[in-house]
């Protein structure tokens, strides 16, 4: 039987990273993935990633996927696509459906990196065509170039719900509401702000009562729930929609491990294998990496993958214990830093009142998806000074620091701790290059010039929609909640390769709007509505 040093199930961020590290250390590695394209969910991720530069922050997910595949190929990893691992048997044998047959392989080690599957919720009408998972929406938009619908209601305010809502708008769909039964936004505040400023209303403490329609969805009714999740009567709201998108969390897809006889444990985050910090399961030689051992971000999955790949190399004697320790030390440090901050695993379900810096968090951000003007001033990224300068509306401790690197003038400071809030060093001069604006994965950095012209301010903001406004376009400025607040005119549009498809548009607004205006819609779109 064909035997490999390492067989990896799943060519997502964790699986490919594992394969690369193992192959680099001399293992003969093969990776199987059931999809037509490698990269797992990365290929549907068109947003820029969070994290640190070393861990591919500010690079868009699909690009990370491509890079990983290239690197894997370079290292001699065999990646077999359209290959479904259908079973994991004794003696570390796997059977794989490839083409029109079944093939048997044995691995001296196995890494299971099968990722996660979407959770679902039930409500009256949830089986109707038009109710889809958020993953389905991403697949249709970003792989098959199709709009999942025209008018969409999103259920779920975690990062997936927020990111996919933004992607839906990028694809040209209208997101009529973002709904979550929880009383506060679950995902990153910057992701929420991105869609709130486009005018998407947030309905926290709300849930779907009914999907309407006989043959497919043509409407939805939501209602408010109280603190014990009971429906409050008289709070029903109706929306005309053709699509309801569900983004209510992920569960580890650990079936193969259970089949292999690995000891499993049930946790609030799903049914996962028992494993040590290097991903070793209870069955010697079987390792895990990524979401299959607990749901996290793709950045953590890549690091976990590297660690288990290195651990597999040590297990087979390709490297010694000393080298193992040396190799994973840095990875473990990076992993720890990604697991810090407000969204750290141990903070799940906890209510955080202050940032690490001791600043009161924005309540409005958690309830409505955007920061009130009165709240923003207390954060270190918000400044007001002469000439053009960055305004960073990043108010939660999340593991991300590309903005610090982006500024050649060192105006932005985060420091050693990756989760610290970015602060502006007012002693350094901003040259208005916009690199920070484009580098911010949360699209939370703006360039503001309060004194652009007599009575007018200029605001530069990141823009990732079509059509791109042109210089001279007249339109309306929207505030953080998406409300039209004044007339605005586009005075500059910057498009650069280094911006990586994030365009920088600069709008002129009345000076007193400089702290309010955060988005632009051109007049044509205003008239449409």
């Amino acid at each position: 039987m064909e035997r490999y040093d390492l067989i990896v199930a799943g060519a997502g961020p964790a699986g490919l990273s594992a394969a690369i590290e193992a192959a680099k250390r001399g293992l003969r590695v093969i990776v199987f993935d059931e999809n037509e394209k490698p990269g797992g969910q990365l290929f549907k991720q068109i947003h820029k990633f969070f994290g640190s530069k070393e861990d591919k922050a500010k690079i868009r997910g699909f690009k990370i996927g491509k890079d990983l595949l290239e690197e894997a190929n370079k290292c001699g990893v065999e990646v077999v696509l359209n290959a479904i691992v259908i079973g994991l048997y004794l003696d570390k044998e796997v059977t794989v459906k490839i083409g029109d047959g079944i093939q048997h392989f044995k691995g001296d080690t196995l890494i299971v990196a099968t990722g996660a599957s979407e959770n679902m919720v039930t409500f009256d009408g949830w089986t109707l065509p038009g109710v889809i998972g958020a993953g389905a929406a991403q697949t249709m938009m970003n792989l098959h170039h199709l709009k999942p619908g025209n008018r969409i209601l999103m259920l779920g305010s975690g990062n997936v719900g927020l990111v996919v809502s933004f992607q839906l708008m990028q694809a040209g769909c209208e997101v009529v509401a973002l709904v979550d039964a929880a009383p506060k936004v679950g995902g990153y505040g910057v992701h929420a702000s991105k869609i709130a400023r486009c005018g998407v209303p947030f309905y926290l403490s709300h849930t779907i009562i009914k999907a309407e329609g006989e043959q497919f969805v043509n409407g939805v009714i939501i209602g408010e729930v109280d603190s014990s999740w009971e429906m409050i009567s008289g709070t029903q709201k109706h929306f005309d929609v053709d699509t309801i998108c569900l983004a209510v969390g992920l569960s580890p897809m650990s079936q193969l491990l259970k089949m292999a006889g690995c000891h499993m444990k049930d946790t609030p985050g799903g049914y996962i294998p028992e494993c040590d910090e290097k991903g070793a399961t209870s069955v010697p030689g079987i390792f895990v990496a990524g979401d299959v051992s607990g749901i996290e971000e793709a950045s953590s999955a890549m690091i976990e993958g590297r660690i288990s790949g290195i651990a597999a190399a040590e297990y087979l004697g390709f490297i010694d214990k000393e080298e193992l320790k040396k190799s994973i030390e840095k990875q473990e440090k990076a992993l720890i830093s990604l697991r810090e901050g407000m969204f750290a695993p141990e903070n799940r379900g906890r209510s955080i009142k202050k940032t690490e810096e001791g600043i009161d968090v924005s309540i409005n951000l958690l309830k409505k998806g955007y920061i009130e003007e009165t709240e923003i001033e207390r954060f270190p990224g918000f400044t007001k000074c002469k000439g053009v300068h960055p305004v960073i509306e990043c108010t939660q401790n999340i593991p991300c620091n590309p903005c610090q690197e982006a500024c050649v003038k060192k105006c932005i400071k985060i420091g050693e701790k990756i989760t610290s809030l970015p602060a502006i060093d007012e002693t350094k001069e901003c040259i208005g290059c916009g690199m920070c604006v484009a580098s911010c994965s949360g699209q939370a950095i703006f360039l503001v010039n309060e004194e652009y012209e007599q009575g007018y301010a200029a605001i530069t903001l990141p823009y990732e929609f079509l059509p791109l406004p042109e210089v001279g376009s007249q339109g309306k400025a929207l505030d953080r909640s998406g409300k039209e607040i004044c007339a605005a005119k586009i005075i500059d549009v910057k498009t650069k390769k280094a911006f990586d498809y994030t365009h920088l548009i600069t709008m002129k607004v009345p000076a007193d709007m400089s702290r309010k205006a955060r988005f632009f819609v051109n007049s044509r779109r205003c008239e449409d509505e």
């Binding site: 059931e34 999809n35 068109i46 868009r60 599957s117 979407e118 089986t127 109707l128 065509p129 038009g130 109710v131 889809i132 998972g133 993953g135 389905a136 929406a137 697949t139 249709m140 938009m141 970003n142 098959h144 170039h145 199709l146 709009k147 999942p148 990028q170 694809a171 040209g172 043959q215 497919f216 990732e464 929609f465 079509l466 791109l468 498809y501």
Partner: protein
């Protein structure tokens, strides 16, 4: 129109060959190699099948081959996951009723 002609991040879709296939006898166009479900979606088709017990309509749900809700009868074979089956010219796609192409009772 459900197709995204130009995307702010992904750009224009690469040119693909347009092929004909049939849904319940009606001719529909789609791109060769895209999932059958994608071609149907582009054509505005929402209903892929009616369930066996309750005769309820179902369509795309997970779009990645796991939930099996989007199955249809393709070239005579029932339970084909249209979201992960590539479209080929001349395919005969039929709405699935229960586990076959026609209702057993003759009605929906």
């Amino acid at each position: 129109m459900m197709r995204i002609d130009e995307h702010p991040i992904l750009g224009k879709q690469e040119e693909k060959r347009v092929v004909e296939f049939t849904l319940d006898g009606q001719i529909i166009m789609g791109f060769e190699g895209e999932p059958i479900a994608a071609a149907l979606k582009a054509a505005g088709v929402m209903i892929h099948r009616y369930t066996k017990k309750l005769h309820q309509p179902r369509g795309i749900f997970c779009a990645i081959g796991r939930c099996t809700d989007c199955v249809m009868v393709v070239d005579g074979k029932p339970n084909v996951r249209t979201c992960v089956t590539s479209l080929k010219a001349g395919m005969n796609v039929q709405t699935q009723f229960g586990v076959s192409a026609k209702t057993q009772t003759g009605e929906v």
